[in-house]
């Protein structure tokens, strides 16, 4: 401690007495903040670059990344740089790509719609099914409760590859293969949301439930009028978590939905990488918007949801 103080520049300690007193602490804090800042830049970089690059014109993109995306180099007259430039701010902001995506080539919008029509029923269905199930896992105190809950935990912990073959078999038996239902139906019954909501439900004060029962509430009233309002933020966090998971999905559509016209944008985006890069950046940015909005609007709920997923034991 003393040794460190001696090493400080002489003027600093005299000018700021606090620094002389807590010099080491300040130095440490500055160091930690710089470290956090460094990580923050790394974490934000890909997202920010995608967004800013979506406003660059095709010629600017090819000047920067011509060496990487062969389609750009092939477009002849445009200048292709020898080296790659990672550019943050476009020379000239253009909305041409967005114009193309939104008005001239509807296939991207169709894919976007495919994503929506897959994910929204899954999230809503999951909420309904999981709310009912978690309520009864909270109320029911019979012999099989722990067995059932344990089954959900085990299923939750299995990698998707294990459950893929069962999903495929069911889809084949029910002739749902290659329809949207082959993804939506198993998605609705995902064990994770039941697990998470049950943990929230068990935190409802017992006195509240007993008071409602004394007033003569039926099970259904207890569920809709007492437990659901108590779990409103929990429902929101479950919704966010499952939305991200399914908005991102790649494995399921490849196997269960080979029909390319029905596939969501998350799969399709990888194939347009080799095509028009400018448009790809614009589509990528558009695809980010729903989940980023959800994030900015519901970060607290998301954090709460993650926090409560944090231990396997009941």
């Amino acid at each position: 401690m003393n040794r460190f103080k001696e090493r400080l520049p002489r003027g600093l300690g005299q000018r700021f007495p606090a620094f002389a007193k807590h010099g080491r602490k300040y130095a440490l804090m500055t160091l930690l903040t710089l470290l956090a800042g460094f990580f923050a830049v790394l974490f934000l970089l890909p997202t920010v670059l995608t967004i800013t690059n979506s406003f660059m014109s095709e010629s600017e993109l090819s000047a920067n990344y011509g060496k990487i995306f062969s389609s750009l180099a092939g477009s002849g007259s445009t200048y292709v740089a020898d080296t790659v430039n990672l550019k943050f701010i476009p020379d000239m902001v253009t909305f041409k790509q967005y114009w193309t995506v939104l008005l001239q080539s509807p296939e991207y919008l169709f894919k976007f719609w495919n994503s929506v029509i897959l994910v929204v029923p899954i999230v809503l269905g999951q909420l309904a099914v999981a709310a009912l199930a978690s309520y009864s896992l909270m109320r029911y105190r019979g012999r099989f409760r722990d067995v059932i809950f344990f089954m959900y935990v085990i299923l939750m912990l299995m990698p998707y590859q294990v459950m893929l073959v069962p999903n495929y078999l069911v889809a084949e038996w029910t002739h749902l293969l290659n329809t949207r239902w082959s993804i939506i139906l198993p998605g609705i019954f995902t064990p994770f949301s039941v697990f998470l909501l049950t943990k929230f439900m068990r935190r409802i004060p017992k006195a509240l439930i007993e008071a409602a029962l004394l007033d003569g509430a039926t099970e259904w009233q207890l569920f809709t009028k007492v437990c659901l309002p108590q779990c409103r933020s929990a429902l929101y966090s479950v919704a966010i978590l499952s939305f991200i998971d399914y908005w991102n999905m790649v494995e399921q559509p490849i196997i269960l939905l080979p029909n390319e016209t029905l596939q969501p944008l998350s799969v399709y985006l990888s194939t347009i990488n080799s095509g028009e890069v400018g448009v790809a950046f614009a589509v990528a940015t558009i695809y980010m918007i729903p989940s980023l909005l959800l994030f900015l609007h519901g970060e607290e709920y998301l954090v709460e949801g993650i926090t409560h997923s944090g231990s396997v034991k009941g």
Binding site: M29, L32, F39, A40, F43, L44, L45, P46, T47, T50, N53, Y65, I68, T83, V84, V129, Y135, S136, L137, R139, Y140, G142, I148, M151, I154, L157, P159, Q161, V162, M163, V165, P166, N167, L169, V170, P186, F189, L214, E219, F223, I244, N248, V250, E251, I254, S266, S270, N273, A284, T285, M288, S291, L292, F295, L302, V303, T307, S309, V312, K313
Partner: protein
């Protein structure tokens, strides 16, 4: 004067008794479990039983039991071995890093640095960004002519073809960490907040060593969370196929051939026996790993619980 007739004092004709809860009827609450239980049984459990059966027969028309022959065939399959090896190697590198680095970030944020909540938002943001959206930027960075090589060449490092050489696993590890550290960090932050403050203060009287307090107090309380984060990262490490697929397509460099690629290719041939055997093997291995982790945690963190 005549007194008016006073009204008769009302008679209580019922006994006051303590209010009582209605009798518990289990079947009513369990009725609400049925939709979910039905779905889980139909879509996950029963077909898995069928798959157990499929993994033991020769084909779906003859249905003769062949014992473990399908499993022997699976373990002699070169593609499966490569996929298993790559996935295992990836998990072995990525999971410990994901746990340690996330714990580091959580401790960093716990140290009361300024703008703590903004940093939390930044670290969490990759989780919300669809992989498909940022894949273009990753390509720009890790392409042979890309940014990473340009940056490294300033230090005189030979250009590396990141996605088509043995370094590819490193790229995917970076992507995995980028995506998953935020989630793990939140779990660690919640659990750090649960460490009793009194205990830390008492320890501060005894020692000035931050390291001592971390190892002997915080780490003890964190151990259930470390277990959970490890399991979670393990599961997520199986999901890394997404990143690989989006970056390199259906036929990646050998080092990136994951179990999901193997499954995809086997689905094309519809070899049910091989698929079932693979799913069963993965399920068993996963169960064993989770059981081992639980046992380790039980040994280490027993004295702080309850």
């Amino acid at each position: 004067m005549k007194m008016p007739n006073l009204p008769k004092k009302p008679q209580l004709n019922f006994k006051l008794r303590k209010p009582q809860l209605p009798p518990k009827k289990h079947w009513r609450s369990i009725a609400m479990l049925w939709p979910s239980l039905f779905g889980v049984l139909v879509f996950f459990v029963l077909p898995f039983v069928v798959i157990l059966y499929y993994s033991l027969i020769n084909n779906t028309t003859q249905r003769q039991f062949v014992g473990l022959q399908n499993f022997v065939r699976l373990f002699n399959n070169g593609a499966f071995l490569i996929a298993a090896k790559n996935t295992l190697l990836f998990s072995l590198i990525a999971v410990p890093l994901a746990v340690v680095l996330a714990l580091g970030l959580a401790l960093l944020l716990e140290a009361n640095i300024p703008a703590k909540s903004q940093f939390r938002t930044f670290f969490l943001s990759p989780m919300m960004v669809p992989v498909a959206s940022v894949v273009l930027i990753w390509q720009v960075i890790f392409h042979y002519n890309g940014v990473m090589n340009k940056f490294l060449s300033a230090f005189g490092v030979q250009a590396i073809d990141w996605l088509k050489s043995d370094y590819c696993l490193l790229v995917i590890v970076v992507l995995f960490l980028w995506k998953n550290l935020g989630y793990n960090m939140i779990l660690f932050m919640a659990s750090l907040a649960n460490v009793p403050k009194e205990l830390m203060e008492v320890a501060s009287l005894d020692t000035n060593s931050r390291w001592y307090k971390f190892v002997h107090i915080q780490l003890r309380y964190l151990s259930p969370t470390i277990l959970f984060v490890t399991i979670l990262s393990l599961i997520n490490s199986f999901k890394v196929f997404r990143e690989v697929f989006l970056l390199t397509g259906k036929y990646p460099y050998d080092g990136l051939y994951m179990l999901q690629h193997f499954m995809n290719n086997t689905f094309v041939n519809l070899d049910y026996q091989k698929l079932s055997a693979a799913a069963v093997v993965m399920g068993i291995v996963m169960t064993i790993i989770i059981a081992i982790l639980f046992i380790i945690e039980g040994r280490f963190g027993k004295d702080v619980e309850g």
